[in-house]
Amino acid sequence: MTNSSKTQPWHSETIGSNGASIIWLHGWGQDHTAFSRLAGLFSNTFRNRLFDQPGFGKTPITLVGNGTREYAEELASILEGTGPHVFVGHSFGVRVSIQLAALHPEMVAGIIGIAGAGLQKKRSIGFKLRAKSLQTWGKTTRIIDRLLGTKMRPRFEQRFGSADYRNAGDLRPTLVKVVNEDLSREAQRVTCPVCLIYGAMDTETPPEFGERYQRLMKNAQFHSLEGYDHWDILTRGAYQCEAVIKRFLEKNDLI
């Protein structure tokens, strides 16, 4: 469902004016400039629109606690009446792209997911026990603070919270919601062609995610690029991504 009356426009930058439309959705903690180099390589042959998603760059938070489904709905409302578009996402941006393709398949001609997130890592029992105990301790500190007026919770967050969690500010409820999402079911509903690109040295979203997504999706191809991690795949890896993306677009008549 889209509700254009409530949706504020997202800040975006447009690069190139000829050819098919590509929408670029950045990762968590970044903004549209994360794609400057890669999108620049497509500037002669595509119309590229690079968005700042709500809470990042120049687009303010629209609603505290939104999940990727709400991000996708907002974007669908912004793009209503246009498309279909090709979506290039990085990490968090891939989550939003998958949600959009599952909710509004008519708007999505294809997805290129670079270091796509949205699946849960396979964890050891030791890791799960540690996570559970930290979760319990976190809740306990909150209760103690409330009862005794102490300030244990901020210290606990400082000590055990991830960098993203500590820096999330008003986006913290969104972050908590997003990291606990598993998009396996949404991925199964994606019917458009999908190109999954992962850095072989990525530990945030390991290439194994790509292989799982490939199995879940009906029409997906997977590429693992040697020597790149979660972040430098967009900079050092720009040319290799360009090669893979162009071949994917050609093969699927998306040019």
Partner: protein, 404 residues
């Protein structure tokens, strides 16, 4: 899909341009089409030992320390007789050391300067029958020696500055300023100063300096002789500006030129630091930011407006002639000197392994050539030239059989 070709990119090396070469090599690997090729980094350390390993792909690995996880390689010079080219490596196993092989299909020399760009590596690869990209040994050696390259250009009627070649004195001997003055007068005429002294066999402006009198020249030459055994002395071009252009043979085998650049410099002569570490941040280029670094981050003006149509034509025609005359290949950068007041242009030198393979000049060319296209074309050309080189080597085919 057919198996991907393994492209061994060799960089680093025993050269003063070691660090720049690391950047160029990594940039080439990063611009390989991953659907067709698999890049294999091969790092030559300053001692001349060869290494490979995933850690080499990251700029943060450099300078390489002893703790870096790398595998030492030896090139198998006899492998192509029976198989694909390959490296050998010794692995410690349960039953002692064991030789393992790392096969590849083509090597890309990304070593700048001596022991890499000068034909030595190319000669080794030709001898071993290993396909490689870029110039063959003849062109690489001919362009590395500035005096020789200029003499070929002169023979072809191309405009070059006069020069005096000075050999490094015997051990224990000194340069005689009087004899040097005499030679200078003969080669460059009276009132030759100011002059520019440069090593005969190095690129990247290493060791280039200006001398206003004979004492300064002697000092400059002695500094050069720490780097090279030959030096050349040329007249200083007043109102000097430099123009560079890249040349290559495209997929249709036609020679084409790139966009022209004018490197920017605050000083009269580009020294190494200005050229590669523009912005004054010596650690800058080591950031893992990808291809916009090294030569590419040098401050430059692309397609400078002040160039007249005639000057542009001269630059393009001369560089194409040099490319043909010296039988060059790959992405070659041809450098020109210009007196900005008179507009006069002189061919200065040819770099057969230019910094960053001059990809930024190709991307700015009309029509633009992407770095991806450039690497793919260089690889195809490398396979073609290596296959064309020998033809049949069977003694019987030349009627040269002795041991029947």
């Amino acid at each position: 899909m057919a198996d991907k070709k393994v492209i061994a990119v060799i960089f680093g090396g025993r050269s003063v341009e070691h660090d720049v070469s690391v950047l160029s090599g990594l940039q080439f690997i990063e611009a390989l089409d991953p659907t067709l090729f698999e890049g294999l980094p091969v790092y030559v350390d300053p001692l001349g030992q060869w290494w490979t390993g995933d850690a080499l792909r990251k700029r943060s690995t450099y300078p390489v320390s002893q703790d870096t996880q790398l595998t030492q390689l030896t090139l198998d010079l006899a492998a192509t007789a029976t198989d694909r080219p390959r490296f050998m490596t010794q692995k410690k196993g349960f039953l002692g050391e064991k030789t393992e092989y790392v096969p590849f299909d083509l090597m890309v020399p990304a070593i700048h300067g001596s022991n890499g760009e000068d034909g030595t590596l190319q000669g080794l690869l030709e001898f071993a029958g290993i396909p490689f990209a870029g110039c063959r040994s003849l062109g690489a050696a001919a362009t590395m020696n500035k005096q020789f390259a200029k003499s070929v250009a002169r023979q072809k009627g191309l405009k070059v500055l006069p020069e005096l070649t000075v050999a490094k004195p015997e051990k224990g001997a000194f340069l005689d300023p009087e004899a040097l003055s005499q030679q200078l007068e003969t080669a460059l005429g009276e009132d030759a100063f100011p002059v520019i002294a440069k090593p005969s066999n190095l690129g990247s402006s290493v060791g280039v300096s200006k001398a206003d009198d004979i004492d300064a020249l002697v000092a400059a030459l002695m500094a050069i002789f720490r780097l090279d055994s030959m030096a050349i002395v040329e007249p200083f071009v007043p109102n000097l500006v430099e123009y560079n252009v890249a040349v290559r043979r495209n997929a249709d085998l036609a020679v084409e030129t790139s966009a022209i650049e004018r490197p920017l410099s605050k000083t009269e002569v580009l020294d190494f630091k200005n050229k590669y570490l523009a912005g004054g941040t010596p650690r800058g280029p080591k950031l893992d930011t990808g291809p916009s670094e090294g030569m590419a981050s040098l401050n430059r003006v692309l397609s400078p407006e002040e160039l007249t149509a005639d000057q542009e034509k001269t630059i393009r025609q001369t560089s194409t002639d040099v490319f043909d005359a010296l039988a060059l290949a790959g992405s070659v950068r041809i450098d020109f000197l210009c007196d900005s007041k008179t507009g006069e242009l002189w061919f200065n030198e040819a770099n057969t392994v230019p910094g960053s393979f001059a990809y930024f000049l190709w991307e700015a060319a009309n029509p633009s050539v992407s770095f991806l296209q450039l690497t793919s074309d260089m690889i195809s050309e490398g396979f073609r030239l290596s296959a064309d080189r020998l033809g049949s080597t069977d003694a019987a085919s030349g009627d040269a059989t002795i041991f029947a």
